[in-house]
């Protein structure tokens, strides 16, 4: 387990000068994950904030070999890269002296929705790679459209809080469970505020041979209508309210890695975010209760699974 001094002493593989928003939750995640291993890294990124914001020609923030090809195929693209690595190594065309690991990045749109098939395929085929989803809960890059990761009640540009419909009506898709059902050796949820937990999980995932998965909460001041300086605190609140439980499933065994001493009410997370503003108007309490009930149910389910072989 590295401390911050050691981590800060390592080379910055993800430079400043990118065009992601002030207060964006993605860069702290990426910076930390890229530091969590000493292996060579190669990354693919799905079309989205991370891709657009970090590689506006002729500039790139990536000090590792990096590729973007399209939106729905970060996993398929990295599976090609990883396979080429094995092929070229086998044939002696690239040096085999240092271990190389592969990471596919994607937002929730590129992972939960349009990229789900290619993610599933790559996991099933067992490529040696980490898939990292930065989940900011909507299609933020194109202007805050709802995704299947968008929280219930959220106001987005395609699930607007209107006179009749109060924002997104559906509960979010539980992607991490879907990934776990692929019997991958390691899958976890993390959050940038808990850097120790995130670093540990990333290091673990990258040390494993085979497909691994990290689903990381990524606050978005633009789409959450929140203050840029609050991003990390909002990430923390997502775990303190148990909206975003931190857990890992290693070789099929569930471990909840963070249990808040006192589970905070979901209002604490909803209130600072403008996307839930309408829920604090008359009638909104019904929806908040519904959200709270679902969170409670899922948290209990998770605690029930604690320590158990779930796959």
């Amino acid at each position: 387990m590295a401390n911050l001094k050691e981590l800060a002493g390592k080379k910055e593989l993800f430079t400043g000068g990118h065009r992601l928003c002030a207060g964006c939750g993605i860069p702290p995640i990426v910076r930390l994950v890229l530091r969590s291993t000493d292996a060579n890294l190669v990354a693919s990124t799905a079309t989205g904030c991370l891709e657009v914001g970090t590689t506006i020609y002729p500039y790139s923030s990536w000090r590792i070999p990096w590729i973007h090809s399209a939106f729905e195929n970060s996993a398929a693209t990295i599976s090609g890269v990883e396979t080429a690595y094995r092929a070229l190594k086998k044939r002696g065309r690239i040096p085999a002296d240092k271990e190389t690991k592969f990471i596919a990045f994607g937002g929730d749109g590129g992972t939960y929705d349009i990229g789900l098939q290619s993610l599933s395929g790559a996991l099933e085929r067992g490529h040696d790679f980490l898939y990292l989803c930065y989940d900011n809960g909507a299609y933020m890059n194109t202007g805050i459209q709802r995704s299947s990761a968008t929280p219930m009640g959220s106001n987005t540009t395609t699930s607007p809080a209107g006179e009749v419909i109060p924002g997104k009506e559906e509960w979010r898709k539980d992607l991490t469970r879907i990934v776990v059902a692929h019997n991958v050796p390691y899958a976890a949820q993390a959050s940038p505020h808990n850097w120790k937990d995130l670093e540990k999980k990333a290091a673990k995932a990258l040390a494993i041979k085979g497909p691994t998965f990290l689903n990381v909460m990524s606050p978005c001041p633009l789409g959450w209508y929140s203050k840029p300086e609050d991003s990390i605190q909002l990430a923390k609140l997502s775990t303190d309210t148990c909206y975003w439980p931190l857990y890992e499933v290693e070789d099929g065994v569930m471990k909840v890695t963070y249990k808040p001493r006192e589970k905070k009410p979901i209002e604490d997370w909803l209130k600072p975010q403008g996307r839930f503003k309408h829920l604090f108007k008359p009638g909104g309490d019904v929806i908040i209760e519904k959200i709270q009930a679902q969170i409670d149910r899922e948290w209990e389910r998770l605690l029930d699974l604690e320590g158990r072989q779930i796959f």
């Binding site: 911050l4 001094k5 981590l7 800060a8 002493g9 910055e12 593989l13 993800f14 430079t15 400043g16 000068g17 990118h18 065009r19 992601l20 928003c21 002030a22 207060g23 964006c24 939750g25 993605i26 860069p27 702290p28 910076r31 930390l32 970090t54 590689t55 020609y57 002729p58 500039y59 790139s60 923030s61 990536w62 000090r63 590792i64 070999p65 990096w66 940038p192 505020h193 850097w195 001041p221 203050k227 840029p228 300086e229 609050d230 991003s231 990390i232 605190q233």
Partner: protein, 97 residues
């Protein structure tokens, strides 16, 4: 900056110098500027790990200042600086100048 119509540009839009965004300034986005109180800072480096813009300069394990070319003034460093320390505060650019 390369010539935009230069036909000798690397094929397929490949960027041959990964990390060259380092030379791109985003400091101009800033409305608020972080100011460090050296006396209070304990070099816990929480600001460094949370900074979205790799704009906390760390030398020999010590927080030595901000990279103003990249800092967008989001204020995360100020918010995340532990409550008992509070070594960073955000001031308006005008005020700072």
């Amino acid at each position: 900056m390369t010539d935009k119509n230069n036909e000798e540009l690397p094929e397929g839009g490949v960027i041959h110098e990964g990390g060259n965004a380092d030379s791109y300034e985003t400091g101009g986005w800033r409305k608020l500027r972080p100011v460090l109180d050296n006396e209070k800072c304990t070099n816990c480096l929480i600001c460094w790990v949370m900074c979205p813009d790799s704009a906390i300069i760390v030398e020999d394990g010590k927080m030595v200042g901000f990279d103003m070319e990249h800092c967008k003034g989001c204020g995360i460093c100020d918010t995340e600086c532990p409550p008992k320390i509070k070594a960073i505060k955000m001031v308006s650019e005008e005020e700072a100048d």
